[in-house]
């Protein structure tokens, strides 16, 4: 394997103190950071809802419930993909990754549909603060989903390009760096999915 010096050391010393690979640990810290971002947005919503007298209440469009189902589907699918990767079932792995990607796109499409429904009901982005917040929060979350989709696509392209070369695939599975990267991606997706579930429940409770 063509590893650099520091990568060799990473592999050797990875679990000495916390039992977690440092890069995975770094991802957890990034999750804490992203949580603060969404916490700031949702608390801003609570503050404005509390102090703005002309806050226009409306029901959260049903579409967002469907997108919640889609995003949970991504989590299930990509986790199944990870398990099949570990068992070296590459055909299954490829298709599960592909389905995860489709579900992720479906989620984004449903979010856009949600915006459309709001717009049709007269709630444009500038109409009232109550609507503006939903646009901003879903957009900010959508950016995180898009980032996840881009990385997922890199994995899918890699997996499909090498499908005719079993030796390459086997080399993949014994390459701990590659498995680690996949685990990082799966964790990231579980996280952004969980954030959406939180946001959905939060918005549902505040818009009914």
């Amino acid at each position: 394997m063509n590893l650099t010096l520091s990568e060799q050391d990473l592999l050797r010393e990875k679990t000495e103190y916390t039992g977690v690979h440092p890069q995975k640990f770094a991802l957890w810290i990034a999750m804490a950071s992203m949580s603060m971002f969404f916490a700031a947005l949702t608390s801003a919503l609570l503050v404005k809802k509390g102090d703005y007298r002309s806050w226009e209440g409306f029901r959260l469009p049903m579409v967002f419930l469907f997108s919640t189902v889609a995003v949970i589907g991504v989590s299930v699918c990509i986790h199944a993909a990870l398990i099949s990767y570990r068992k070296a079932k590459f055909v299954q792995f490829r298709w599960l990754m592909f389905f995860s990607f489709l579900l992720g796109c479906l989620f984004l499409a449903l979010q856009l549909k949600g915006w459309g429904v709001m717009k049709q009901g007269g709630m444009t982005i500038t109409e009232n603060l109550s609507g503006s917040f939903i646009y901003v929060i879903t957009a900010a979350h959508g950016v995180h989903i898009i980032a996840g989709l881009v990385v997922m696509l890199v994995f899918i392209v890699h997996a499909f390009r090498n499908r005719k070369d079993p030796i390459y695939e086997l080399r993949d599975i014994i390459n701990p760096k590659r498995q680690l990267n996949l685990e990082l991606l799966v964790s990231y997706w579980h996280y952004v999915d969980a954030v959406w579930v939180y946001l959905y429940v939060f918005l549902y409770l505040n818009y009914r």
């Binding site: 050391d9 690979h21 890069q23 971002f37 700031a40 503006s132």
Partner: protein, 609 residues
């Protein structure tokens, strides 16, 4: 038998390393897209110096206006063109100068430059690891920092000029893109937001790397309580950054929505030239909450690394163990916790509920306790020590002096009732410049002079360094001490000509301006010294040579950074990473001047931790 095997593996390792050394490093990977923590550290420090010069120069320009409001300086028109027609800085440009001075020094120099430089240099060296948890993300962190800087710098060269609504970016003035309202609120402020977003990304990528590396990858024997205080400070700084910067990002996202898509998060019933704009229901105070939720922890992001560097420099240069090591650690921890629950003390005059103000006053004043503990411990450390009054030690002592001076006025300002009188006056300017601006600079200078040999294998010039120190110390007091006595003088004003009562401060204003110019020129000594010493400085001489590598320990430090060879190696140690056996402050014990952390305990010797 065992030793023989060990020797063979050791040899292999060295050999393997040599191969990498030649194989991998091209000019681009070594100097530009480097993933080596030491090179990234150098990139940060040099970028930081560039920004320091720019930020300082901006302050000189507006000091010209403040010191001599009735004079004209024709050379300004030559350089600044329409921003200084007739040799007088225009009002719009004056506000741009103040805004960018604050932004650049707070974020680009004292956050990016300070944390970026020393976290990258010291974490791997002092905790004993070959590189960061993710060297690639570490490289990204620098490149985001650099691109943030390029965007900010670019904004000086556009038609409407850079952001000019204050470094705090408050709406409503910054919430409107109308340049008729404020010239800098046009494209200049969009670039400010873009630059800050890139900067926040850089800061987060750096921070999560620092934390992951410190908590996971320390060398064998390096328990948490054997880490030098520099590492503790950097760790807590990174934690603060990772948790507070996202709030600013959220605030900026909402602000940009207001500006570009006409939402009303921060704007309400705005009237421009008699026309009522369509914004309804927003509150500028909401932005202040989001801003200061970062903004206050930000001052600890700036000062904690400086405190860490100073602790290390003072212990090393006075040849004494740090006084109250654990008290230091828990003080930083207390500051970390408190930093998140005091942000509204910047907002006492916003109509904040006075009862809430009392709560924030209480927590704010509590910060005096850990701060005082730290000051006491620094003084305790140098007390009766054999202090070597070299430049880094002088700057570290200067830091303590500055921190006390600025800290005392913090206790005054922290009271909500008194703050109503002092808010937005020069008293506040004096306070925060001394306590976090100048102090942090002193900490940074102490660090640069102290670890320059580690960075470049050469020393900085001592004489120039001492001149630099005395100019900076006396000059900084000359600039900021008189500001305490400019009673009631509001900050950020272009001119006070319409207020007769302030006429008696004209002399002080002129005095401050002269002092500022001298101090700025004094800093150029540092810049010259820095770049001259990279190439021509006195070399660190080898004290011993093992396996073809030269080793030295110029300051006689106990920590791990000098257990690596003088030469820059990707991977730091040619052989195995050293094992740690003791805490980092064994100075003047057991009849010896210092005992390195790598030295095993003697039979019967009790480990300090």
């Amino acid at each position: 038998m065992e030793t023989a095997t060990a020797h063979v593996t050791h040899h292999d390792h060295v050999h393997g390393h040599e191969e990498h050394h030649h194989e991998e490093e091209t000019f681009l990977t070594k100097y530009v897209f480097s993933q080596d923590h030491k090179m990234i550290s150098k990139q940060f420090v040099i970028t930081g110096i560039f920004w320091g010069i720019v930020g300082g120069l901006l302050s000189i320009l507006f000091r010209l206006q403040l010191g001599w409001p009735n004079e004209t300086f024709p050379f300004l028109e030559t350089f600044l063109g329409k921003w200084a027609e007739g040799g007088k800085i225009s009002q719009e440009f004056y506000y741009a100068l103040v805004t960018m001075h604050g932004t650049i020094l707070v974020f680009f120099v004292l956050t990016g430059g300070l944390s970026g430089t020393f976290a990258n240099l010291l974490i791997p060296y002092q905790v004993g690891v070959r590189d960061m948890a993710s060297p690639f993300i570490n490289m990204l962190s620098y490149w985001f920092f650099l691109s943030a800087g390029i965007v900010m710098f670019f904004s000086f060269f556009i038609q409407t000029g850079p952001a000019s609504g204050g470094w705090t970016a408050y709406p409503p003035i910054n919430g409107l893109r109308d340049t008729a309202v404020n010239l800098g609120s046009g494209l200049g402020f969009d670039l400010w937001i873009l630059g800050m977003t890139l900067f926040i990304v850089s800061s987060l990528l750096g921070g999560l790397n620092y934390i992951a590396t410190i908590l996971n990858m320390r060398t064998k024997g390096m328990s948490m309580f054997r880490m030098p205080l520099t590492i503790w400070a950097i760790l807590f700084t990174a934690v603060i950054g990772v948790l507070s910067f996202p709030a600013l990002l959220a605030g900026c996202v909402l602000l940009e929505f207001d500006r570009l898509l006409d939402t009303s998060f921060y704007l309400n019933n705005i009237i421009i030239n008699g026309n009522l704009l369509g914004y309804k229901g927003g509150s500028p105070i909401l932005f202040q909450h989001l801003f200061w939720f970062l903004g206050h922890p930000e001052v600890y992001i700036i000062i904690l690394p400086a405190m860490g560097l100073v602790s290390e420099v003072l212990a090393t240069q006075s040849r004494k163990p740090i006084f109250g090591y654990k008290a230091m650690v828990f003080s930083i921890l207390a500051i970390l916790v408190l930093s998140f629950i005091v942000w509204a003390h910047h907002m006492f005059v916003t109509g904040l509920n006075p009862n809430l103000g009392a709560v924030f006053t209480f927590f704010t004043l509590l910060i005096a306790i850990p701060s005082a503990i730290k000051v006491f411990n620094w003084i305790g450390t140098i007390w009766k020590g054999k202090v070597r009054l070299v430049t880094p030690a002088l700057f570290a002592i200067g830091f303590v002096s500055m921190f006390i001076t600025g800290g005392l006025t913090g206790i005054i300002l922290g009271n909500s009732a008194i703050d109503i009188q002092l808010h937005d006056t020069m008293f506040v300017v004096a306070h925060f410049h001394i306590v976090m601006g100048v102090s942090a600079f002193f900490g940074m200078f102490a660090g640069v002079y102290h670890w320059f040999p580690r960075l470049y294998g050469r020393y900085m010039n001592e004489t120039l360094g001492q001149i630099h120190f005395y100019i900076t110390l006396l000059g900084a007091y000359a600039i900021f001490f008189p500001m305490h006595f400019m009673t009631g003088l509001p900050r950020r004003y272009y001119t006070y000509a319409n207020f007769e009562t302030f006429n008696n401060f004209n002399f002080l204003a002129e005095f401050i301006s002269i002092a500022a110019i001298i101090v700025f020129l004094g800093q150029l000594l540092f810049v010259i010294n820095f770049f001259y010493s990279i190439f021509k400085g006195r070399k660190v001489l080898a004290e011993k040579t093992v396996d073809g590598y030269d080793y030295a320990n110029p300051w006689g430090t106990t920590t791990l950074e000098w257990s690596a060879p003088i030469e820059r190696l990707h991977g730091n140690w040619p052989g195995d990473i050293p094992t740690v056996h003791r805490w980092p402050y064994d100075y003047s014990v057991n009849g010896r001047e210092y005992i390195p952390q790598t030295e095993p305990l003697k039979p019967g010797e009790v480990s300090h931790d």
